[in-house]
């Protein structure tokens, strides 16, 4: 029976090839658009997630307050309010897994005849863990390097490329502010951060060395930033409260007095970026879905025309013994075949289109089995939904009227 009905559907669609093809085109465009938009949207989400994961997870940034020297305010990080001792105290708090005090600034680096301007970061070994930053060759410096203020450096990929070209930088010497530093390792590649800044254009040295040899801070033991990593996302709000309480206490701030430091939740910023792309991809999907809907209405339209055209045929079929449900399933099957075939073609074109976008623009695309399955399910659903009304109409025809129809 099903085989016979498939044959029927095939014949009926073959009788009007152009019309069938155009009806299918509506579905092809709809499904193609959905698949392509979802691929691009999910690709954007994936790209943002990648960037966020290079930042490190569950991070807080504490920034020194600004100074005010004769009316000239320095901006955040310029003041001496945060101390290495503050960082050490925070490390003792419950829910805190890593703390890395940071001093940084841009400096001119020299190696042989090459020189290059990059961000120099003075910190402790906890920094590498907090930012989950691996060392691709060589090894990181240790706490004892920080204690004895040795002149060692780890350099980022971009800095390495600019100073050393294709040579291996490990074991060579660079000069920062006239001081020679031994390069003991090269950091793994991280790419851009959310602002689009190159995270690999950097040199990381022990905090103590940075304070004494490079930046020469006038206030002993002060740092510009402290990076704090909470043990888990759930503990972040509690950790934030405890840090603020502790710092206010240590800085002897009275009630009502403003904090002399800033607290930034880096995860929150990342989350909002992720949320933005998620909304964007939803929106793309929604817009593409409209074309799918239009495709479905196209199917309904053509099926209605087809029922009218074939009224006499329906009458003949009823006269020879077709039940209402036979007529119903015949027309439903035709609608379903058009929508599913259109969906398959649309799927192929959508994937091809997404790959083309990827090839032309370097945009990341993600084609997930889920989005393909959703498109397929929706197409089948549309076939049944929009095919049902015309099929119902065909099945409800009165056999005598249908036979008389010219």
């Amino acid at each position: 029976m099903l085989k016979a009905m498939l044959g029927e559907a095939w014949r009926a669609m073959g009788a009007n090839r152009l019309r069938t093809a155009l009806t299918m085109l509506g579905m092809v465009i709809g499904v193609g658009a959905v698949v392509m938009m979802m691929a691009i949207g999910q690709g954007a989400q994936y790209a943002v997630a990648q960037t966020i994961s290079t930042m490190g997870s569950n991070l807080y940034m504490l920034i020194s307050g600004s100074t005010n020297a004769g009316g000239l305010r320095s901006g955040g990080g310029g003041g001496p309010s945060l101390k290495v001792a503050d960082a050490e105290a925070i490390a003792e708090l419950a829910g805190v897994s890593r703390v890395a005090p940071l001093h940084y600034g841009r400096q001119q680096l020299v190696h042989g005849a090459n020189n290059w301007n990059a961000t120099v970061v003075g910190t402790t070994p906890a920094y590498f863990d907090a930012r989950s930053w691996s060392v691709s060759s060589g090894y990181p410096f240790s706490d004892s390097d920080v204690r004895s203020a040795t002149r060692v450096a780890l350099i980022g990929q971009t800095t390495a490329d600019n100073l050393f070209g294709s040579d291996d930088p490990v074991g060579k010497t660079i000069r920062i502010q006239q001081s020679p530093f031994l390069v003991i390792g090269v950091l793994g590649k991280k790419g851009q951060n959310l602002d689009g800044r190159d995270q690999d254009d950097t040199v990381v040295i022990p905090l103590s060395t940075a304070q004494r040899k490079v930046f020469g801070t006038p206030f002993q033991g002060s740092v510009r930033l402290v990076m704090v990593q909470a043990a888990s996302a759930e503990e972040m709000p509690a950790v934030e409260r405890r840090m603020i309480d502790l710092l206010r206490q240590r800085h002897r701030l009275r009630d009502g007095q403003d904090n002399d430091f800033y607290v930034r939740n880096l995860t929150a910023a990342a989350d909002s970026a992720a949320e933005t792309t998620r909304v964007m991809s939803l929106l793309l999907g929604a817009i593409a879905s409209v074309s799918l809907l239009v495709g479905g209405i196209g199917i309904m339209n053509i099926m209605l025309v087809s029922v009218t055209e074939r009224t006499r045929e329906i009458g003949i079929r009823m006269a020879v013994g077709a039940r209402q449900r036979d007529i119903l399933s015949q027309f439903l099957l035709e609608a379903l075949i058009i929508s599913v075939a259109g969906c398959l073609i649309g799927l192929l074109l959508g994937v091809a289109g997404a790959l083309l976008v990827n090839a032309i623009t370097d945009m990341v695309i993600v084609i997930s089995g889920g989005s393909v399955l959703v498109a397929f399910g929706v197409a089948a659903g549309i076939g049944i939904f929009f095919g049902f009304y015309p099929a119902r109409r065909a099945a409800a025809l009165d056999p005598i009227d249908a036979l008389r129809h010219q």
């Binding site: 029976m1 085989k3 016979a4 014949r11 009926a12 009788a15 006499r312 045929e313 009458g315 003949i316 079929r317 009823m318 006269a319 020879v320 013994g321 077709a322 039940r323 209402q324 449900r325 036979d326 056999p399 005598i400 036979l403």
Partner: protein, 236 residues
């Protein structure tokens, strides 16, 4: 075999029109036994087509009862009516009513599709019926490739394919020339000779003369019901 194949008791049908209900058929009592060849005659508007639609289970009566093979058709649902049309009745129409996109074999096999017969069986039985009407060679042709008379023979093959108890023919020669009409009537007569019950509607006296019994309708009632004289039958 006491009960007739067809029995109508006070069969009535009225249509709703803008001017109120219009009675097309008023209390028709008729028995037709298995093996009969009956011509239903009458002018247009006499109610003969309405009567045929009721006999064919295409329509249900407004009043009275219709028993087909002992079953009261008036109490059946749509699916059961469809099943009766499929298994007990074979239709032959004035306009042949073949599906133009299908081969003749597929046209003939169409009732078997709805009877749930498998593909191989369908092919065999369609071929058999086409041979019976002398068109075996055209099995894979499309209806548009053959003449009107041939199309009507295919339609008769389709009516026969599911071995019905009854053939209903509505003006089967109305679209054919006289020569071809004779051929078709000879085919009907031959089928009747093999025991098939045939009821045909016509307004042509010479066509009706080929049937063994002639029932005449006027204004929704039967006005005469006579056996065709033997000498007239022989001319046919």
């Amino acid at each position: 075999m006491s009960s007739p194949l067809i029995r109508t008791l006070g069969l009535g049908k009225s249509y709703d029109t803008a001017a109120g209900p219009f009675p097309a058929l008023m209390g028709v009592d008729l028995d037709i036994d298995a093996g009969e060849f009956v011509a239903i005659m009458g002018q247009s508007g006499s109610g003969k087509s309405t009567f045929m639609n009721l006999l064919g289970c295409l329509d249900t009566p407004s009043s009275g009862d219709y028993f087909l093979v002992g079953r009261n058709v008036g109490h059946l649902g749509q699916d059961e009516l469809a099943s009766l049309r499929n298994r007990s009745i074979g239709f032959v129409f004035q306009g042949f009513n073949l599906l133009q996109r299908m081969t003749l074999a597929d046209n003939v096999a169409l009732p078997l599709v709805y009877a749930g017969v498998d593909r191989e069986q369908r092919r065999q039985r369609a071929q058999q019926e086409l041979a019976r009407v002398g068109l075996a060679a055209y099995a894979e042709s499309l209806p548009s490739r053959i003449s009107g008379g041939q199309q009507q023979r295919v339609a008769i093959a389709r009516a026969l394919v599911n071995a019905p108890q009854l053939i209903l023919a509505d003006e089967p020669t109305g679209n054919l020339d006289s020569h071809t009409s004779e051929e078709i009537m000879r085919l009907f007569a031959a089928l009747n000779g093999q025991g098939m019950t045939i009821v045909l509607v016509t307004h042509e006296a010479d066509i009706a003369a080929c049937a063994r019994r002639q029932v005449r309708f006027l204004d929704g009632r039967i006005v005469s019901d006579v056996a065709t004289p033997a000498e007239v039958l022989d001319e046919c």
